[in-house]
């Protein structure tokens, strides 16, 4: 039951974040919404049924990798955003 709640939450966040990314125009807000969408996908993956006993370690490893990759890319996107603003452009 717990898992089903979080599965629903994950899917909700994924779609919410995804749609918001298209609707917002500000770079910083988009980076945040993309991160939320990604978190939603991770949550759905972890909460989905399938593991025999205990938590699926492969799914955990995948999500961990996803978290790190998301941080790396978000970090670069933020620096690009800041630099662009300093150069006088719009994001």
């Amino acid at each position: 039951m717990t898992a089903a709640i979080f599965l629903f939450l994950g899917l909700f966040l994924a779609v919410l974040g995804g749609l918001t990314t298209f609707l917002r125009s500000d770079g910083l807000h988009r980076i945040i919404s993309l991160n939320i969408a990604g978190s939603g996908v991770f949550l759905a993956l972890m909460a989905a049924p399938g593991g025999e006993e205990g938590v699926d370690p492969v799914a955990q490893a995948l999500v961990l990798t996803g978290i790190v990759v998301a941080v790396a890319i978000s970090g670069v996107a933020l620096v690009l955003l800041a630099r662009l603003a300093e150069l006088g452009g719009r994001s």
């Binding site: 979080f6 966040l13 779609v15 945040i32 919404s33 593991g51 978000s74 970090g75 670069v76």
Partner: protein
């Protein structure tokens, strides 16, 4: 317990909507950090302790720091506009998301159960006792190697885009210095502990690296100039040591027999060595992401284009 979980889910959903709603950037960033911490709680509720650690340290902590740093730079350049971009009403999106989630949940729950990768069966042969570490560093090591490469690329990228923004003119006061003396050693010890612990319990290179990065960001915030601000000989080796050790391990094992198959009996040593190198690099690279640019030699007063 179901009530707690339902409550937790509701609050997280609410925080997410609040984060995505509204125009003010600062508000969104702060709420996003809250989002990350709540998500960490949910990982813990699902039994994914490694993820809880990582989400708190990296997802909420580091990402929050990066967002704040970017926010600061954006504020300095743009005229005082609290409003950023356009923000249409979020309610239609929420409804669509609820509908999609319902459909999706029904679809997923109606799937026939399928087998999962046989981690427990091969855990003994992996060299470590913790399943997640075994997956990351033994069974799917190639993914982790590329992941470290992503971090290196991010560090190089940030240096390429521009130089570090000019640091504040005065050093932080005695309160911060005192805090530093207390907190940094604790973080370092915790990091080493987490690194070693990863071989038999939740922990590992990424969580350890994030803790070290947190310590580094504290130093970067309080010292003027910070460790990331001036070029120094240790920077590039520290950034690349993780990838170098991992790639060397891949090449050596490829030459010996099967690539990325750690020699029998020595697996744990190989894995810990790779993780140690990775943790150092992760820390330095995350610090570089926070610093937001390439280091500048002291004599230069012109913040021109980025230099290595």
């Amino acid at each position: 317990m179901v009530v707690l979980d339902a409550l937790l889910a509701l609050v997280l959903a609410g925080v997410a909507v609040a984060t995505l709603n509204g125009l003010r950037r600062f508000r969104a960033v702060v709420l996003f950090v809250v989002f990350g911490l709540l998500l960490a709680l949910i990982w813990a509720r699902l039994g994914a302790v490694d993820l809880a650690l990582a989400e708190a340290a990296i997802g909420a902590g580091v990402t929050g720091a990066l967002l704040m740093a970017a926010l600061d730079r954006l504020r300095r350049t743009e005229s005082s506009r609290a409003v950023a971009g356009s923000a249409p009403s979020l309610w239609p999106v929420v409804l669509v998301a609820l509908a999609a989630a319902t459909v999706g949940m029904v679809a997923v729950l109606s799937l026939e159960p399928a087998g999962r990768p046989p981690v427990a069966f091969h855990l003994g042969a992996s060299g470590v006792d913790h399943p997640v570490t075994a997956v990351l560093l033994a069974f799917r090591a190639w993914d982790t190697l590329l992941e470290v490469a992503v971090l290196v690329a991010a560090g190089v990228a940030v240096r390429a885009v521009g130089v570090v923004p000019s640091p504040p003119s005065t050093e932080a006061g005695p309160l911060q210095a005192g805090l530093l003396r207390l907190v940094v050693p604790v973080l370092v010890v915790l990091a080493v502990y987490l690194l070693w612990r990863g071989s038999h319990a939740p922990g590992g290179a990424f969580q350890a690296g994030a803790l070290l990065a947190a310590a580094g960001v504290l130093v970067q915030l309080t010292r003027v100039p910070g460790p990331m601000d001036r070029p120094a000989l240790w920077q590039r080796p520290a950034e690349t040591i993780g990838l170098a050790v991992f790639t060397a391990a891949a090449l050596i094992t490829a030459a010996l027999d099967v690539p990325l198959a750690w020699p029998e009996g020595w697996s744990k040593l190989w894995i810990l060595t790779i993780e140690a190198g990775a943790a150092i690099s992760i820390a330095v690279l995350l610090m570089r992401l926070f610093a937001g640019g390439a280091p500048v030699a002291a004599a230069t007063s012109d913040p021109g284009k980025g230099r290595s």
